[in-house]
């Protein structure tokens, strides 16, 4: 039995998390994890909700791929935080992921409409 809290939030389709993070960083430049999580929620008007923590393994994988870099900085509240930034490779990846996403969505839409 799932918790009531999660019920009215749709889980994001797998793989799109990268796209969301890339898109967020592309729009806003430097961000730390909490900001990224908030930003994704805001954009998706709280409908698409990540299990917030899963952001971090995803960020690690993106660090490995070289899509983002991270460096330590200070928040407005004067706390130490790790800031992530898009790299040139990441920017290119964003294009790839976007077109892929659109292709998949397009296909699904066509399937739905065909029914």
């Amino acid at each position: 039995m799932a918790r009531g809290d999660n019920l009215h939030r749709d889980e994001i389709p797998p793989g799109t998390l990268y796209l969301l993070i890339l898109k967020t960083l592309a729009r806003s430049g430097e961000m730390h994890g909490y900001e990224i999580a908030n930003s994704i929620q805001r954009i998706s008007v709280d409908v698409l909700q990540v299990e917030e923590g899963s952001l971090y393994p995803a960020l690690q994988r993106m660090l490995i791929k070289g899509w983002v870099t991270a460096k330590w900085g200070t928040t407005a509240g004067n706390r130490r935080a790790r800031y992530y930034q898009l790299t040139a490779v990441g920017r290119r990846q964003l294009v790839v992921e976007t077109s892929q996403f659109e292709r998949v969505i397009g296909a699904i839409t066509r399937v739905i409409e065909a029914v």
């Binding site: 899963s54 971090y56 690690q60 490995i64």
Partner: protein, 895 residues
């Protein structure tokens, strides 16, 4: 390039993984706190705000682990963990560790050592650029086979071929060096100007020969070997341009080649040359005459040329030479062989057999260590059962065990490498002439890789049995019973170990036994003469003797013989200027008088040509079978005579009586020589000479009967002596040297060697193989008996409880002894039978290195069977006796 950066990033993470974990922790902490803050501000209580933040975040520990493993290092971290644990376990039982590591070190060390030899001799390319382009080129003569060639033929090869970028001729020679202290003989090589450039040897000083120097009438030039330059001239750099007086002619030193330059092929043997002179400038008859074959050749094929193309090309060359010079070249061929193959042709089968043998030693070592591990893992059953009960997967436990065994193997490998580097050097130093290319034997990266690979393989091999066994533990039984079992099936692995060890040891011992029998057999083969108390040496006569008129030369040769005879203790002396058993080859073509002369020289038969003094038979103790031998009266003034050996008589006269018949040797003599006697056959090519050896027929004649114009070529310039001495012949060299010098200060004695030593040298490769095989077999025997002892001790120890009960119930000691002993003996016998069967199959592969003994020699097989049975019985008896000595009360109480 991106993947490279990715690897770099992953590696950076591995280096700083502690930092990584704390960073991640801090980051997540911040996230949680900020979220909590937000909830607080929206009016939640502190507790529910924290709970909500956590709920929204997910499982922190699992997310941390996911972030960590995303970098792909968990296998490494587990390995480090396993290794740490393994090292701790090994440290905890130092006795076990020491025995296992030492056993493996012996096995791996022996393998590394032998592989470094195989690697240096067989696998490594020759130290020349593009070594695969370099080939040796020999002539092929019908009725004789592969042979040296004539220099004029060589020049035609150079002119006519289309597939070689360069050809070079070489030929062994000697010179008398005067004007540098005492007169001395130097070993020389006559070479083409292209010789060193072809092999890419650059002079360390000066230059190579010019083509002008490599022609008749060219300015006399000489190149020194690095070693000669060092010992003779103290590596002085201003040697270039100086004159060296060789055989009375001044040669200008134009260059020095590196000291490590080493070229050995077919007829040149292992002796290094002191000096090199251009062959093209030589006026010697054997160089200028197409009928004299004393030159060898090497060639470098054009780039990308296949061996088959070169062979086809040279076949054409041989055919056109046959047409142009039918008398000397009709139906002859040209044999092309890769240089590397020629250099290792004789040693290859020995090394391969040794490599197999040493592999067996390692297998035995592995079985021993596997047995130790198995005994230990049985003791550790509880540990593994508990780990499994706590949720460790079987794969994880197996990996742990394999890590331990690989650790052991690595330690063994490291120690083995030390043993090998020391042992190889010792073996090569002890047997210097046994191996060609001995200089190329070293521990290079390939050898290190080999050691690493066999260590890993050994670790997995001997670790697998115990690991597999512990991976199917009966948890319930083990935990309940306390690890003590009584069922016989438990020892199946150990039983197999005993059988395998026994079988391997049998095969090795039989292999060693057969080579020992071969060598012992060869030692007792008669070479056809008596080598004991015979000293052989060569003499460099002063140039004045060769340049004098013929009768003076003959007189001088007689006087030298007399001078040597006058040395006290010398009982017989003979000049030898032609073929010499196991040392020098010289052949001559002939045909029988009264039979039609063969159409050309190529189709005439060859005979080995011994030019010796009248006392030769006395020195060598060769039996005279019929007629008489040469006498002092057979000189220039009497009719030419010769003596043939029994093989000659058999092959060319059959049942006829050869005495009184005459032979034509038109290459040298205008008149035929009359056969006056028949002597016993001598094994010219060594004790292992077979009927396949090139020339079997032999004949003897007196050098004094050589025609005047041939005297210098066939007697003076290649003179040597054999003397029979009373007492140790080695001690006579200096007395004879003094006598010669007293007689003529420019005469030089060199290369003295006892006949026994020459024969010993001819068996060096076999001795090398025999000694190593014997060492390996001894090692195998030792390891196998330790192994069998270990297994039986272990089983007896495990059965102490049962034995205690039996004894308490009144069983006789002797009866129990018989049970334990019988158990071991049965296994050993089974191993013995399997080993004998395997050996019968495998020893057939050794046939090339055996001589005079069948690969299934019953004596060797039965001797090995008896020895191993005894060893196995002793190895079983000791632990069995200890088992029955145990006080039943102690055995029963101990639980």
């Amino acid at each position: 390039m991106n993947w490279l950066r990715e690897v770099a990033r992953r590696l950076r993470m591995l280096m700083h993984r502690r930092q990584f974990d704390t960073d991640l922790e801090e980051e997540m902490q911040l996230h949680l706190e900020l979220r909590q803050q937000e909830r607080l501000e929206s009016g939640m209580t502190a507790d529910s705000a924290r709970a909500a933040a956590r709920r929204g975040f997910g499982n922190v520990t699992s997310l941390k682990e996911k972030s960590h493993t995303a970098w792909g290092w968990e296998w490494f971290e587990q390995l480090v963990q396993d290794m740490r644990y393994g090292l701790r376990m090994l440290r905890k039982s130092p006795g076990f560790t020491a025995v296992a590591v030492l056993t493996l070190a012996l096995g791996i060390g022996a393998n590394t050592s032998l592989f470094s030899v195989v690697n240096g001799v067989l696998l490594n390319p020759l130290p020349y650029p593009h070594p695969d382009e370099v080939v040796t080129m020999a002539g092929w003569f019908p009725g004789y086979g592969e042979s040296s060639i004539s220099y004029p033929d060589f020049l035609d090869w150079v002119r006519l071929n289309h597939t070689f970028s360069s050809l070079a001729a070489y030929r062994r020679d000697t010179f008398n060096l005067t004007g540098q202290g005492d007169a001395e003989q130097v070993a020389a090589m006559d070479v083409s100007a292209s010789f060193f450039p072809l092999l890419s040897v650059n002079p360390v000083l000066g230059r190579n020969f010019s083509s002008a120097e490599d022609q008749l009438g060219g300015p006399p030039a000489v190149i020194l070997s690095g070693g000669f330059w060092k010992t003779k001239f103290g590596s002085s750099p201003d040697i270039i341009g100086k004159a060296l007086n060789l055989d009375g002619t001044d040669y200008t030193v134009v260059g020095v080649i590196p000291e490590n330059f080493y070229f050995c092929c077919s007829s040149t043997g292992f002796r290094l040359s002191d000096v090199y002179v251009p062959i093209g400038a030589s006026k010697d008859l054997p160089v200028r005459d197409r009928r004299m074959i004393s030159t060898w050749a090497v060639g470098r094929m054009k780039q990308g040329m296949a061996l088959a193309q070169a062979r086809a090309d040279m076949d054409d060359v041989a055919r056109s030479l046959g047409v142009a010079y039918p008398d000397t070249d009709k139906d002859t061929g040209i044999v092309i062989t890769p240089l590397q193959q020629v250099m290792v042709r004789d040693i290859r089968p020995f090394l391969l057999v040794l490599l197999a043998a040493v592999g067996f030693v390692l297998l035995i070592a592995c079985v021993n260590v596997a047995n130790l591990l198995l005994a230990r893992s049985t003791g550790r059953n509880r540990e593994f059962a508990i780990r499994a009960a706590l949720g460790a997967s079987q794969g994880r436990v197996m990996r742990q065990l394999l890590t331990e065994s690989v650790l052991l193997a690595m330690a063994g490998g490291a120690l083995g490498l030390l043993l090998a580097s020391w042992g190889t050097r010792a073996a090569l130093a002890a047997l210097p002439s046994a191996l060609p290319r001995a200089n190329d034997v070293r521990l290079d990266p390939r050898v290190l890789l080999f050691t690493l690979v066999i260590s890993l393989a050994a670790g997995v091999l001997f670790g697998l049995a115990p690991a597999l066994k512990t991976s199917h533990p009966d948890l319930h039984e083990t935990l309940k019973e306390g690890g003590r079992g009584s069922s016989g099936a438990r020892y199946r692995a150990q039983n197999i170990f005993v059988i395998v060890e026994m079988a391997l040891a049998v095969v090795l011992l039989i292999g060693a036994g057969l080579t020992i029998r071969t060598l012992v057999g060869l030692w007792s083969v008669s070479p056809g003469f008596d080598p004991h108390n015979v000293l052989s040496f060569r003499v460099g006569f002063p140039p004045s003797i060769g340049n004098a008129d013929a009768s003076t030369t003959r007189a001088s040769l007689r006087q030298f013989t007399e001078k040597i005879s006058s040395v006290p203790g010398v009982s017989a002396v003979s000049l030898t200027t032609g073929a010499k058993p196991l040392d020098r080859e010289s052949g001559l073509i002939f045909w029988r008088e009264g039979q039609p002369k063969p159409p050309n020289e190529v189709s005439m038969p060859y005979a080995l040509w011994y030019r010796v003094g009248p006392d030769y038979l006395k020195v060598m103790k060769i039996p005279l079978l019929r007629g008489r031998f040469l006498t002092a009266q057979d000189d220039a003034n009497s009719p030419g005579v010769c003596v043939i050996d029994e093989d000659f008589a058999q092959k060319f006269f059959g049942n006829e009586d050869p005495i009184g018949k005459r032979l034509n040797f038109t290459l040298v003599y205008n008149q035929p020589l009359q056969i006056v006697g028949v002597v016993g056959h001598v094994k010219q090519y060594g004790l292992d000479e077979t009927a396949n050896s090139p020339i079997q027929a032999q004949f003897y004649m007196s050098p004094l009967q050589l025609p005047d114009d041939q005297l210098k070529t066939w007697a003076v310039s290649v003179a040597g002596y054999v003397i029979r001495t009373q007492g140790s012949p080695g001690a006579f060299a200096s007395a004879v040297r003094d006598a010669l010098r007293e007689f003529n200060s420019k005469a030089v004695l060199y290369a003295p060697e006892t006949m026994d030593h020459i024969i010993g040298r001819s068996l060096a490769s076999r001795r090398f193989a025999m000694i190593l095989l014997a060492v390996f077999a001894a090692l195998a025997l030792l390891l196998a008996s330790i192994g069998i002892y270990g297994v039986i001790s272990y089983i007896a120890g495990q059965r102490a409880h049962e034995i205690g009960i039996r004894m308490a119930l009144g069983a006789q000691r002797s009866h129990v002894l018989k049970i334990v002993l019988g158990q071991g003996a049965r296994l050993a016998l089974l191993g013995l039978v399997i080993g004998l069967a395997a050996a019968a199959g495998l020893t057939r592969l050794m046939i090339t290195i055996l001589y005079g003994v069948s690969p299934t020699d019953p004596l060797t097989f039965s001797a090995v069977a008896i020895v191993l049975t005894l060893v196995a019985l002793v190895a079983c008896y000791i632990p069995a006796r200890r088992a029955v000595r145990v006080d039943p009360l102690v055995a029963l109480r101990y639980d």
